[in-house]
Amino acid sequence: MASPGKSAAVKAPEPPAELVREPLVLNNRSLGWITDAIAGVCEKPMPAWWWPAFIVSVGGMITMFSLIAYLVSTGVGVWGLNQPADWAWDITNFVFWIGIGHAGTLISAVLFLLRQKWRTSVNRAAEAMTIFAVACAGIFPVFHTGRVWFALLPGYLFPAPNANEIWPQFRSPLLWDVFAVSTYGTVSLLFWYVGLIPDLATLRDRSKGLLRRFFYGLFSLGWTGSNRHWSNYEKAYLLLAGLSTPLVLSVHSIVSFDFAVSVVPGWHTTIFPPYFVAGAIFSGFGMVLTLLIPLRSLFKLEDVITLRHVELMCKVLLATGSIVGYAYGMEFFIAWYGGSPYELYAFKNRAFGPYWWSYWAMISCNVISPHFFWFKKLRTSVVFVWIVSIFVNIGMWFERFVIIVTSLHRDYLPSSWGYFTPSWVDVMTFVGSFGLFMTLFLLFIRFLPVIAISEVKGVTPQADPHHPLGGAKGHH
C-alpha cells in the first residue's frame, strides 16, 4: 500500500551483522507488555518481603529523627566531635549521600545528551535515588550546626539579614554550598517530575481505585500524549538535561571547595573538584547497582533492565574508579613534589598514621575492586557485581572520612593533635539515614513506575515508523 509522494516510506540499507546492536528490551516485547510489566509493579499488591523491609526502614528513619531530636535538645556534644576534629561523621555522611545522588543525574542528563539510549531503563530509579540521597545529605549539615534554629533563621544560610542586620557573607564556600545543594535538590526534583508526567497519565488511565485515579490524575496534569505537547515536552526535557549537566559538575566541585578553599594540609589542593566529581559518580553508580540488581530480579524486570545494562554500568564504575585511583596517586605525588612539609606529613599520616586502617580500607575498596570489571565474565555475573557495588559504597564512605578526619586531627600544631572517635549517636544517626533513604525508595516502588514507561517504549523498534516492527511497509 506504499503510495508515491511524501508518504513513501524511507528504505535504509541493512547494516552489517556485527554492527547490529543488541535490543534494549529483550524478547521482542510489545508496547502493551512494557506498560503492563512496569505499571504492574505499582498496581499489584507488594510482594511479601516489602512490608518487613518497609517496617525495618521506617524503624531506622524513626531512630534517626529521635537522635536528631536528642542532638538538638542536648547539643552537638552528643556526637564525638571535639577539637581538633570538628567535622567528622556529619560532613562525611553529607558528602557521601550527596555523591550518591550524582549518578542519578549523570544517567538522566549526561547520558541523555550523549544519546545513550540504554539509560531509559534505569534513569527513573536512579533519579529517585538522587532525590532521596539529597534529602539524606541535607540533614547532616543543617543539624551539625547544633542550634539549628540559628542556621535556619535568616542571616546564616538564607539570604536575609540577621538580628544585627548583617547579611550572610558570600565569600564563604559554605554559603556557595547551600545554594549549590538546594539548587541541585530542586532541579533534580523538577527533572524527575517532568519525566514522570506521561507515566502518571498511563497510571491514571489504567487505575480502577478512586484515590489512585484522583492522585495520578492530579499529578499527570491532564496529559494526553498530544504531539503538540510532546514537541514542547521534548524540548523542555532536553533543556533540563542540558542544565543538569553543568549543575551536577558544579555541585560536587562546590562541595570540594568547602575543603579546597581552606588552608588545611590535605584539603588545600586544586585536584579536588574533578576528583570529587569522579568519586561522586563512582559511588553513585555503586548505589544504583546495589538497588537495581535486586529490583530487576524481585519484580521480574530482567527484559527491561538487561545484563547489558548491568555490564555498561560496570564499565562506568571501571572508568570512574580508575580516575579516583589516579587522583589518590596524584595527591601523594603533589604532596611530595609541592615541597610543603605539612602537606607531605598529612599524606604520610593518612597512610601510616593512627587512621591507617581507614586509608587502606578506602584503597582496597576503591582502587582494587573496580578493576575486576576488566573481565566480561565478572561484569555479567550479577551476584558478583552486587557484592562489588557494596564495596564501592563502603570505600567511598571511607574516602570522605579519610579526607575529613585524617586532615583535621593533626594539622600544623602538634600540641593540638587529637584522635576522633564516633559516639553511638554518630553511628546510629548514620545508620538511621539509610532507613530514611530506603523508606523513600520503598514508597517510590509502591506508588510510582520504577522505569520510565514512555521512554522505554520510545527506544523499541516498534516505536520507529521506518522500522518493519513499527509497521513500515517499505520492504517490497
Partner: protein
C-alpha cells in the same frame, strides 16, 4: 449520550502502529487541516515534521529564567555584601564577580529550570483537567499502545462526513465521533 445540547468536538481515528499514524499525519498535514493533533504513548521521531509543526519555543523561557537568575545572584550579593552592610571578612574585597560567581551560576540554573518547566506548561496549557478526549474509553489506550488522530470540529476544513471518509478511506483508521457538553 448525545443530547440536544452536546455539540461535536471532532473525529477520533485509531491506529495500531507507529508507521500508520506517521503516514496518516502526513496526509492530514497535506490535506490542510489546522486544528488537529496526534496522540501517542511516546514521542515519535520525525512527527513534528510530519505534522508540520514549528520548532518549540521553550528555549526562550529557559533563557529568560537564566538571565534573570544570573543577574539576581550578582545584584543580590553586591547589595548585601558591598552596598547595604559592607563588612570586611578575611581582607577580601567587598564585591567581585569572582566570588559571586558560584552562587550566581546556581541561581542561573535554578531559574532556567523553573523557566523551562513553567514555559512548557504555559505553551502546552497544562494543567488542563477537562478534555473531551477523556470521555472516550478507547482513548485510554493512547497512553498504552495505541495511536490516535483527532481532527477538531472547529477546523475550517472540517465536515463531519467528508472528514470521516478522509480518515477511514485515505488513512485506513477506525473512526468515532467525539462530543463535548
Amino acid at each position: 449520550m448525545s443530547s440536544n445540547r452536546s455539540k461535536p468536538h471532532g473525529l477520533l481515528a485509531e491506529f495500531h502502529t507507529a508507521a500508520d499514524i506517521f503516514e496518516a499525519a502526513i496526509r492530514c498535514r497535506d490535506a490542510g487541516f489546522t486544528k488537529w493533533d496526534v496522540y501517542t504513548p511516546f514521542p515519535i521521531h520525525g512527527m513534528d515534521e510530519a505534522m508540520g509543526l514549528r520548532k518549540s519555543p521553550v528555549g526562550w523561557f529557559t533563557f529568560c529564567g537564566g538571565f534573570t537568575g544570573f543577574f539576581t545572584g550578582m545584584t543580590m550579593i553586591w547589595y548585601m555584601n558591598k552596598f547595604d552592610y559592607p563588612l570586611v571578612v578575611g581582607g577580601k574585597p567587598l564585591f567581585t564577580p569572582l566570588f559571586a560567581f558560584p552562587v550566581s551560576y546556581e541561581m542561573t540554573i535554578l531559574l532556567s529550570a523553573f523557566g523551562t518547566l513553567f514555559g512548557m506548561f504555559f505553551l502546552n496549557q497544562l494543567p488542563k483537567f477537562y478534555n473531551p478526549l477523556f470521555k472516550n474509553e478507547r482513548f485510554k489506550k493512547s497512553t498504552d499502545d495505541r495511536f490516535f488522530i483527532c481532527i477538531e470540529a472547529t477546523d475550517p476544513k472540517f465536515g463531519t462526513d467528508a472528514t470521516r471518509t478522509f480518515l477511514t478511506e485515505k488513512c485506513h483508521a477506525a473512526v468515532v465521533e467525539l462530543v463535548e457538553d
